[in-house]
C-alpha cells in the first residue's frame, strides 16, 4: 500500500504556533519583565502614567493577535494529529516553531522598527544595534527552523497504528 507523507500540515501548524509563542516571548520578556520594546513607545514615551497605559493598551491588542495565531496553530495541530498521512515528527514541529518565531521577529522588526518606526527594542537608544540583533535573531531562527524541517523531511516515517 502506498502513502503520501505530507509534513506540510504540521509545518503550517507549528509556524502559526511559533509566531504566536514568539509574540508571547517578546511580550513577557521585553514588554513586561524588562519593560522595553513597548508598542508605541516612539510616539508615547514612557514618561507618564498615561503614556504607559496607552502603550499597555496597544501591547494588549498586539498580544490578542499573537494569541489568535497561537489558537489557530493549536486547532491546525489538532487537525494534523488526526491525519494518518502527516508524519508525527518532533523535529519537523520544533523546526516549524522556530521558523514561526523567526518570521515573527523578522517581520515585526522590519515593519515596526525600521519602516514605521513606532518603537525600537530599546527606545532610549532609538534605532540601534539592538534592533539589528532582533532582526538577526529572526533570520537565524528562520534558517535553523527551515534546516530542521528539511532534515526531518529526509527521515519521515509513516505513522504506526
Amino acid at each position: 500500500m502506498t502513502h503520501d507523507l505530507n509534513q506540510k500540515p504540521l509545518v503550517i501548524a507549528g509556524t502559526f504556533m511559533g509566531i504566536g509563542l514568539g509574540g508571547f516571548f517578546d511580550g513577557i520578556l521585553f514588554h513586561q519583565l524588562l519593560q522595553i520594546h513597548n508598542m508605541l513607545s516612539a510616539k508615547y514615551p514612557k514618561t507618564s502614567i498615561a503614556n504607559m497605559e496607552i502603550n499597555m493598551f496597544w501591547d494588549g491588542l498586539f498580544h490578542s493577535l499573537t494569541y489568535t495565531m497561537t489558537l489557530v496553530g493549536l486547532v491546525l495541530l489538532w487537525k494534523a494529529g488526526a491525519r494518518r498521512d502527516v508524519p508525527w515528527s518532533g523535529k519537523t514541529y520544533v523546526g516549524a516553531l522556530f521558523l514561526g518565531w523567526g518570521l515573527f521577529n523578522f517581520v515585526e522588526g522590519i515593519i515596526d522598527h525600521h519602516i514605521l518606526n513606532i518603537h525600537h527594542v530599546v527606545e532610549s537608544h532609538g534605532q540601534s544595534v539592538f534592533d539589528y540583533a532582533f532582526l538577526a535573531s529572526g533570520l537565524i531562527f528562520i534558517i535553523g527552523g527551515w534546516m530542521a524541517i528539511r532534515s526531518a523531511q529526509r527521515e519521515l516515517q509513516p505513522r504506526h497504528q
Binding site: 500500500m1 502506498t2 508615547y44 498615561a50 499597555m56
Partner: protein, 79 residues
C-alpha cells in the same frame, strides 16, 4: 486567625483600591481621561492598522507556504 485574614484583605483592598482607580484606563479620573484620549482619539483606526500591520504580512507568508509549495514536503513511501 479569621480576623487576621479578613483584616489583611480589607487592608489590601484599602491600599489597592485608590491605585486601581487612578490607574484604570476606563475610569473617570484625569489619568483615565488622558488615556482614553490617547487611545480612542482621531488616530485610533490608523494606529490600529499600524499595530496590526505585521500580521497580514505573516499571514501572506503562511499562505505562500501552504498554497505555494504544492509538492514540497511530500514523499512516497511503502508500508
Amino acid at each position: 486567625m479569621r480576623r487576621v485574614v479578613s483584616g489583611s484583605v480589607a487592608a489590601a483592598g484599602a491600599f489597592l483600591l485608590p491605585l486601581a482607580v487612578s490607574a484604570c484606563p476606563i475610569c473617570n479620573t484625569e489619568t483615565g481621561r488622558q488615556v482614553r484620549m490617547g487611545i480612542f482619539g482621531d488616530d485610533f483606526w490608523s494606529t490600529l492598522a499600524i499595530v496590526a500591520a505585521p500580521f497580514p504580512v505573516l499571514l501572506l507568508v503562511l499562505a505562500a507556504m501552504h498554497f505555494g509549495w504544492p509538492q514540497s514536503g511530500k514523499r512516497q513511501s511503502n508500508s
